[in-house]
Each structure stands twice: as C-alpha cells, then as structure tokens.
C-alpha cells in the first residue's frame, strides 16, 4: 500500500538528525514539521529571514510582521533569530543549511530537478528554489510518484530546470530513491508496494538496493 502524504512526511522526517538546520518547501514538505522524531531538535529556516520557525499563531495573535516564505502567519521560538534576505541566502548558498526538503514536478535520474515553470503557462517565478537546491548540503524531494498517471521520475527532465544534478534523495508515495554519480537507486519500498509497480510508474532507470527486490 502506498504511503499517504502524512506517511511520506514522516518518512522524510526520519532523515533528520539532532541539531540539523532544515528548510521546508511548501506543499507536502510543510507536513514534515509535524513528524520530527522525538528526542531530536531541529531548527527550521524560513528563507525570508528567520531561523527557528514556530507553529501557526493562535487565532487573534497573528502578526503581519511575522510570516514564513509561503507568506503564512507563524510564530517565533526561544531559539529564533531574524536576519535580512542577503544573510538568509548567504546561509543557504554557503552550505550552512543541512537539508532542504521540497516538492518537484520532475526529477531526472542524474539529479536534475524541475519545479518552477511549465512553458505556455503563466510563470509565477522561482522564488528561492534555485538557491536552495544549489546551496543546501542535501536536497530531498518529497513528491507524488506520478501525476495524472504520467511519471515524474524521468531519464531527463522535459520542463525547464530548477537545478542541475542537485537532488540527493527522492521520497514518493511508493518508495525512497537516492541519487549519486552512479545514478539512481531504489533503497526502500512503501509497504506492500511491488517492485514491478514502481518500475511501471518510473521512466528513470534505477538500480535496486541488494536485498530489496
């Protein structure tokens, strides 16, 4: 049975380690903060200028000066610090963030990532996504395995790229893949998801970790 969105988020959260600084993209990645394993502490970065992002405010306590990169009202924590956009992206570009977890439209077997535009549609802009995938130490893509029965794990991305060779790990509803110089490897299957189903729904070529088949 494939993973639900919450289960995908929980699986991504299992990649976090105590003391990590983490940037979460919008969509399913946002859910990851609900599943931080007990006993570890991570600090969430919001690229608009904040480390130590807290939960949504209680009703009536929203502060227009305190939002996350998705423009949602949030709160601060005792560990919080604020900084300007140049320092925020200095942090990102300089490799100080441990993990970026973000969504994607397409990921290629060489680690290419496309998640910012579809030619012919109105472009909204890449925001901080290109900086995050280029700068953060480890990039984890968290996405549905396919969209309207079209595979999203491809040999080559067909959409304009957000980053070239930047993805380290892909977590979908069907399983977990790692990508390195040697290519893409399936390292984990969602419970009761057959390898055959994954092969059918994946255009990218991938190895299978020994013992997993």
């Amino acid at each position: 049975m494939s993973w639900s969105r919450d289960e995908m988020a929980r699986r991504a959260a299992a990649e976090l380690r105590d003391g990590f600084y983490v940037n979460l993209g919008i969509g399913i990645p946002t859910l990851v903060s609900n599943f931080i394993p007990s006993g570890i502490t991570v600090q969430l970065q919001s690229e608009n200028g904040m480390l130590g992002m807290g939960p949504f405010p209680f009703e009536g306590e929203e502060d227009p000066d305190l939002i996350n990169a998705g423009k949602q009202t949030i709160t601060e924590l005792p560990t919080t610090s604020y900084f300007d956009s140049a320092q925020s992206f200095g942090m990102i570009r300089g490799g100080h963030i441990d993990v970026s977890i973000l969504g994607a439209m397409q990921v290629a077997e060489n680690g290419d990532l496309a998640n910012w535009m579809i030619p012919g549609r109105m472009v909204k802009g890449m925001g901080g996504a290109m900086d995050l995938v280029a700068g953060v130490k480890r990039v984890i893509v968290l996405m549905e395995h396919s969209a309207r029965n079209e595979p999203k794990l491809l040999r080559r991305c067909t959409l304009p790229l957000t980053g070239k060779g930047v993805v380290d790990t892909v977590i979908t509803d069907l399983g977990v893949f790692t990508i390195d110089r040697g290519g893409m490897t399936l390292t984990e299957r969602a419970p009761n998801v057959a390898l055959e189903e994954i092969r059918q729904k994946t255009e990218a070529s991938f190895a299978v970790r020994s013992g997993l088949a």
Partner: protein, 234 residues
C-alpha cells in the same frame, strides 16, 4: 542636516521621473513601504522599472502601481497569483525579469557595496544562466551575476532615529536593509520615530548613512496575505 520629512509626498519631491528604476522593500506584503508606494502611485510617474521580490497583490503593495499601469518592468523572484500581473504580461504591457531570490538579494547587496559582479552556483544549468558567463572554480561551475543599484530605494522600517539609523521588526526586515544600501537615494517610512541616542547602537540594523529621507508613517494597513492559525487547546 534634517532627514525627516512631514509626509510621503514631501519626501519624494524632486526624486521621481518617468522611466526611472526603483527598489521597493518587503516580502509579500510583509515589510513593504505601503505609504511610499501609494505616494508613487499618486505622483503619476510612469515607465518604472521596479526591483522588488514580489509584485504585490490586487489592491495592495505594487499591485497599486500595476493597476495604474505605471510599471514597465519588474525584477522579481516570485509574482505569484496576481491576475492583473498575468493579464498585463500576456498583453505585452509588462516586462518581467525573474531572478532567483538569493541572487536578487545578493545582486542588491553587491550593488550597495560597490561590487559590480560576483559568481554563484545558483541557476547554473538553468535558463537563469543563459547568456551569462559560466566559470569553473575548484571544479565547480558558477554563473556571473551583476550588482544592482537603483535611482531610488523605498523601504519600510519599524523604528528610526532622526539620524536615519533603522531597526526592523521580525520578518519585516527581509529585503529592506540591502535595498537601503543600493538606492542612489533611499527613503524610509518608519512606524516609530525617536531622537538620536534612543536606540542602542548595537541594535541598529541599518546605519543612518544609508538613509536620506525619513517619514513617520502611521497608521498603516499592514495586510496579511495568508492568515494561518491553530486552534487553542491544540
């Protein structure tokens, strides 16, 4: 040397001309110089190039200047779901240059710091790098990006003293401090105006040297774009 002006109209007097380039602080609607943007709208100046992370929404922020067709070109990282923006763009009445958000911030910081160009990993291998110099340093490829300056920067701060020393509040800081450094003239609207000495000099985010004119701007609308809350007792 008096930097404090009675209102936005007075503070912008003599600074606006058609076809100029203006940086405008803020992220979404957070920390935007809303009073100054409204005054730019009222001035009727046109053909503007606006450098701003976002383009506002219908009826707020730079949305005001889109509605009035005063903007010719936007330099932004994300313009989101602005229907008017989409319409103007598709009709060819608006030009857009997308920059990765960190590249935009760094270009502005570089412009203010006298750095005409720098190299970054961001965007290598993407359309952002097309037509730009690519160079390898230590076996990794980087793209050269140029510093940005503007004829005018309009910014928002939480507190200022009369010398122009500024303090920002929480995530309303965002692009405001770097833009303060990169405007040939910088005008700040501030929520609280105090005398020199009232702000601890170790708490100042933007030294007064970067601020030419100040207005005490209240009341402000300070709209919230995405009001998200949790229930008490959760």
């Amino acid at each position: 040397m008096n930097k404090v002006y009675p209102d936005a109209h007075a503070a912008l007097a003599g600074l606006l001309r058609d076809g100029m380039t203006i940086m405008s602080g803020g992220f979404g609607l957070c920390g935007i110089p809303e009073i100054l943007v409204a005054a730019i709208r009222d001035s009727g100046v046109t053909g503007l190039t606006m450098i701003s992370n976002n383009a506002g929404i219908d009826g707020a922020g730079l949305g005001l200047l889109l509605e009035s067709r005063q903007i010719r070109k936007m330099v932004s990282s994300y313009v989101g779901e602005n229907q008017l923006f989409a319409d103007l763009y598709l009709k060819g009445e608006l030009e857009i240059e997308f920059n990765p958000q960190g590249t935009l911030a760094e270009r502005i910081r570089a412009g203010g710091a006298g750095i005409p160009a720098f190299f970054t990993k961001t965007g290598v291998g993407t359309s952002v790098a097309e037509g730009k110099e690519i160079r390898e340093f230590d076996t990794e490829s980087y793209v050269m990006e140029r510093g940005l300056v503007a004829d005018l920067a309009v910014i928002h701060a939480w507190k200022a003293d009369r010398e122009g020393n500024l303090v920002y509040r929480k995530t309303a800081r965002n692009f405001n401090p770097v833009m303060a450094t990169a405007g040939r003239v910088t005008v700040a609207e501030v929520e609280h105006l105090v005398e020199p000495g009232a702000i601890d000099p170790d708490h100042i985010h933007t030294p007064g040297i970067f601020v030419d004119r100040i207005i005490h701007a209240t009341p402000l609308e300070k709209r919230i774009e995405q009001r998200t809350v949790r229930k008490r007792g959760n």
